[in-house]
């Protein structure tokens, strides 16, 4: 047994191999990453909708004489939406790299040893068949060779499996360490981008103020009580703004947690891993993502309801 361990250590070059908990931590991170990827651009798209509605409301307070200018402004608002959509597409493409990175982490940590199992079994079977033929040819003239196929298969399986898992861990350590400062910078820049949408002075907060001011101006310019439909439209726009602002805040917080989870993952792959800490970072991240996904679902449902009302 000691000899076998020594042979394996010599073949693999080192005792460190990718463990199941490490592979699971990578899978969890990759999954959380996939959920996060589309969220930053969703904030831009939610803002685009809220902003377009804000500009539409602006047009409601314009008198007949200035109607052409109001039309021009509406066209410009639509153009702004289109430009913002282009930026959202660029943002999607940029954050998509996180998805590619997660897919490669999955690939590098996947259970490739299953392939070695099949090869080792084939090897064992082939050896036993050959030894069987050899013994048949010999007949009773000599001592028959023992069937060593299963032992050879086990050895091939052990060496191949350990070697592969050792190589996997070496690659993962190298790449996760290389990617860590980049993931931190990327998520930090996403945080800066989304920070501009949050708070009373943020883009969404400013639109909410504008909608409220327009509501006041609209009520006074028409000189009559607002209809239920008017109140509903303004109310829905404000509700959408609140949800979009919450989404922006949630995704901003999540981007920070994603960076922390990645740093923890790097720790898990280090020679002395702190798996408990990495797991708790991941759990926090998953909770945040679920919260953000709920807000996004609410926004989607608001949009669907509005679409149905319009139809």
């Amino acid at each position: 047994m000691v000899a076998l361990v020594a042979v394996l250590a010599a073949v693999t070059g080192c005792g460190a191999v990718l463990t199941k908990p490490q592979a699971s931590a990578i899978q969890d991170f990759a999954q959380a990453n996939d959920t996060f990827v589309k969220l930053p651009a969703t904030v831009l798209r939610s803002y685009e909708e809220v902003h377009l509605e804000t500009r539409m409301f602006d047009a409601t307070t314009v008198g007949t004489r200035d109607a052409p200018r109001a039309v021009t402004q509406l066209m410009r608002a639509i153009e702004f939406s289109q430009q913002l959509e282009k930026v959202a597409v660029q943002l999607d493409a940029a954050t998509e790299v996180l998805s590619q990175y997660a897919a490669l982490l999955r690939k590098l940590s996947s259970d490739v040893v299953g392939g070695v199992d099949a090869t080792a079994t084939d090897l064992g079977r082939a050896l036993d068949q050959s030894i069987g033929s050899y013994n048949q040819v010999l007949g009773g003239s000599a001592t028959p060779l023992p069937s060593v196929g299963s032992a050879a298969a086990a050895a091939a399986r052990a060496v191949g499996g350990l070697y592969t898992k050792h190589r996997q861990l070496a690659y993962l350590r190298e790449f996760v360490a290389q990617a860590d400062p980049l993931v931190t910078r990327l998520t930090s820049d996403v945080g800066v981008l989304l920070g501009a949408f949050v708070g009373a002075e943020g883009y969404l907060g400013a639109d909410a103020m504008s909608i409220q001011a327009t509501l006041t101006a609209y009520a006074s310019s028409h000189g009559v009580a607002l209809t239920v439909s008017d109140v509903h439209l303004f109310g829905e726009a404000l509700r959408k703004e609140v949800l979009a602002a919450k989404l922006a805040d949630d995704v901003r917080t999540t981007s920070t947690k994603l960076a922390k989870a990645h740093a923890a993952l790097k720790g898990v792959l280090d020679p002395r891993p702190s798996l408990v800490s990495a797991r708790s970072e991941l759990q926090v991240l998953i909770t945040e993502l679920q919260a953000a996904a709920q807000v996004k679902a609410k926004l989607d449902s608001t949009n669907r309801t509005n679409q149905c009302t319009k139809e």
Partner: protein, 115 residues
């Protein structure tokens, strides 16, 4: 324009827009005065949109640059994953070679070439 300057400009634009909205609510404005306020308000809207789009685009550009660097790491990872697959196929080839050798030994012995 630097981000701080842009944010300061945005804040001033918003203050001006709010002031115009208040002015529009005043009673007794002539039609010309109303039109001037509408026009000024629209110009400020345009300026606000321009500043916001610049700000968002600049931030997304930074993210794109970060993404490009991460793409380089991803490319190396992809190459390593392929290398690992190749290494696995070497294990496979070795196993086949051993099996082939056993077959040859068996065949040779059946012809009396191996005692």
């Amino acid at each position: 324009m630097a981000n701080t300057e842009r944010l300061a400009a945005l804040a001033r634009v918003r203050l001006a827009r709010n002031a115009i909205q208040v002015a529009q609510g005043q009673v007794g404005l002539s039609s010309d005065e109303q039109s001037r306020l509408v026009s000024l308000f629209a110009d400020l809207d345009d300026l606000e949109d321009l500043l916001i789009l610049e700000d968002i685009s600049e931030n997304v550009e930074s993210i794109r640059k970060d993404a490009d660097e991460l793409k380089d790491v991803a490319a190396s990872m992809s190459a390593s994953a392929n290398k690992l697959t190749r290494e696995l196929s070497l294990v496979d080839d070795a196993a086949k070679a051993v099996a082939g050798l056993a077959d040859v030994v068996a065949l040779a012995s059946s012809h009396g070439l191996v005692p």
